[in-house]
């Protein structure tokens, strides 16, 4: 029997053999593919960014760097309640888990709300996706991330509704990926 192996019996009494937790491995692999998706978007952005003589192109509205800095802080701070939630899930503390996950979700939703408000304002200033490469790359790259936050919030909602703590560790990996990706995108798109 190899080291670290978990031998289980299934519902009909059949022997089953697990070496490591499948869900964790599966999520890691999925996040690898996700990383490459964003690598593609970022590469496309950089191709345009680095070959442009002037960036941002003239006569384009400026991005809201300050407001986004605040919402960046909000999103990053959600890492703490997520960490609390992971500990609560491990310790079987259902009350603490619900509270921490709710706080995580509220911080994420706040970030997304501010993003949405900014987008609405930028659109009124004339920065649309078809208006040029500047708008196009902004909305696809930032939008791809926003969709990931939205998907994470939907998943969080399902966990809260079903009150099933089994998926929390894997959800935590996804959340940390989405949160951890943002400072990179903020730096590239807003600051650099």
């Amino acid at each position: 029997m190899s080291r670290g192996a978990i031998v289980l019996e299934d519902e009909v009494g059949f022997q089953r053999h697990h070496r490591v937790d499948s869900a964790t491995v599966g999520m890691l692999i999925f996040l690898g593919a996700e990383t490459m998706l964003f690598a593609g978007f970022i590469a496309a952005f950089l191709v345009f960014r680095l070959t442009a003589p002037v960036w941002p192109p003239p006569l384009q509205p400026r991005l809201p760097v300050g407001v986004t800095a605040v919402s960046t802080a909000v999103l990053l701070s959600s890492g703490y309640p997520m960490w609390r939630a992971l500990r609560a899930a491990r310790d079987g503390d259902h009350g603490g888990l619900g509270r921490s996950l709710t706080l995580t979700g509220l911080l994420g939703a706040t970030f997304l709300g501010v993003q949405g408000y900014e987008w609405a304002r930028l659109l009124t200033f004339g920065l649309t996706a078809p208006s040029g490469i500047y708008g196009g790359t902004f909305y696809t790259l930032i939008g791809a991330h926003a969709l990931h936050v939205l998907a994470a919030l939907a998943w969080l909602g399902i966990i809260l509704i079903l009150r099933n703590p089994a998926g929390v560790p894997v959800f935590g990996m996804y959340w940390y990926f989405v949160v951890g990706l943002w400072p990179l995108l903020y730096t590239l798109v807003y600051l650099a």
Binding site: F14, R16, H17, A33, A44, F48, P57, P130
Partner: protein, 570 residues
Amino acid sequence: MRESGAAVLDVHAHHAERGFWRTYVFSTDHKMIGKQYLSLGLFWAVVGGLLAHVMRWQLAWPETAVPGWGEVGPETYNVLVTMHGTIMVFFVAMPILLGAFGNFLIPLMIGARDMAFPRLNMLSVWVFALASLVLLVSFFIPGGAASAGWTGYPPLSAKAEYTGVNWGMDLWILAHALEFAAFLMGGVNYLTTAIALRVPGMTFFRLPLVIWQLLTATTLFLLSVGPLIAGAVMLLLDRIIGTHFYAAEGGGDPLLWQHLFWFFGHPEVYVILLPAVGLVLDVLPVFARKPIFGYRWIIYSTIAAGGLSFIVWAHHMFVSGMDPRLAMPFSITTILISVPFAFIMFAMIATLWKGSIRFDTPMLWALGFVAMFIVGGLTGIFNGSAPADIYISDTYFVVAHFHYTLFSSVVFGGFAGFYFWFPKMFGRLLSEPLGKIHFWLTLVFFNVTFFPLHNIGLAGMMRRIANPLEYEFLVPHQWINVVATVGGMLLLASQIPFVVNVVWSLLAGKTAPKNPWGANTLEWTAPSPPPHLNWGETLPVVYRGAYEYSSPEVAEDWLPQDRTLAARSR
């Protein structure tokens, strides 16, 4: 023959009762899902083959109506070219080599009862079925199916007015998105299953090579598909909301698509090739009755080739107008990648050296793969080095090259695996004479069809032209097109013995024993066909590598992975 892992058959009686829908349609059983992928792939192979037939007829006898189809105009021809490539790569090669064999073999060969996420696996095949439906529908909508080439280069693909195809192109992108989602789910499953569910004793360096190849192919797919999805999102946005990512007039860059496409596209050809190489690597030692040559070095070569495949993509773009300084580095990496593949090919040949070779049908296909793939590999050297490629780029030389590599992978490699594992999949033996007739006819007419394309390509015939007679310099070479077309028709007809064989065998074939070929790997310790959950109450335990043929330690010339020799070796 003795099995140490007790295969208790009757325990499965209560497992078998799952009803028609749960057994054949909405099944979570990896073996059924593999067969579903196989069926969908074979369906598309028929469609893709017929499209090829219409194309070939048009090339041999342009300006005549294709029997059963009618006149082929240039617009229709573009659809044929595009959809033939799309179908063969994404809807035949991937579902059969990766979808069918990956699903069927991975759990069985590593000793798992099923995939790590069986319901995700079922979702994978159904999303693929939906992708198939979307692609099929695109033929019948106003404007017809996509016609911007299987590579979908903008600006041709980005603006409906350039091709006259509107919805067809959007559905083409949608079908790809669904197919990628399907293989993403499958890929996560494959890797997780192989990492988490290997049976006790099944270390990574005891895995059969086909598993290594499937896992490497899956990894390449998972790591390369992201940038293409990003590119496809931008293409769709260009088409639907009018962004300018690929439109030069709006500040975009059409070459960006080519980079994103080929960053995926080159690993993608190994996603197809590696499983086929794996199938052949697992067939050769069984019929040479010899251990595989250089097991670990084959694995290292595979990983090296996989890694290199991410830095060769621009060799598809030597004439695209990219910075010419890139041609040299990409030529070098491309030539470099032939080193690990050459090693694998030599290892295949060395495995045969002094073996007691049996020429059963799977072995013939495996040998056919080795011979034909080497032709494709050698012509690849010309395509890979920029100076030669600039002359032959976008000619039929390239068409011949990638048919010698891809056709040999999908058809020769695929049939090697199919004939080898058919008894395990369906519990029946195929007819050997019919299988051999199928092989020899396919081998001959494959070469009649595709070898002359090298010559006409060197004579200057371009890819994707609807009527070669419109070009005066090609008129003297038109007889080559006729030869290739006649060969192609006979190649299609050569598949009739295969259909007869499969139908006859499923209805009236001999029942397959558990291990008809005397093979070592774990799937042959399960019943043929394996029941749901594959083994009885207990799982097999692995004591040795997969290729201990003609071992002096036992009387038989094979030594299964689950056999312990504890008493004798001490």
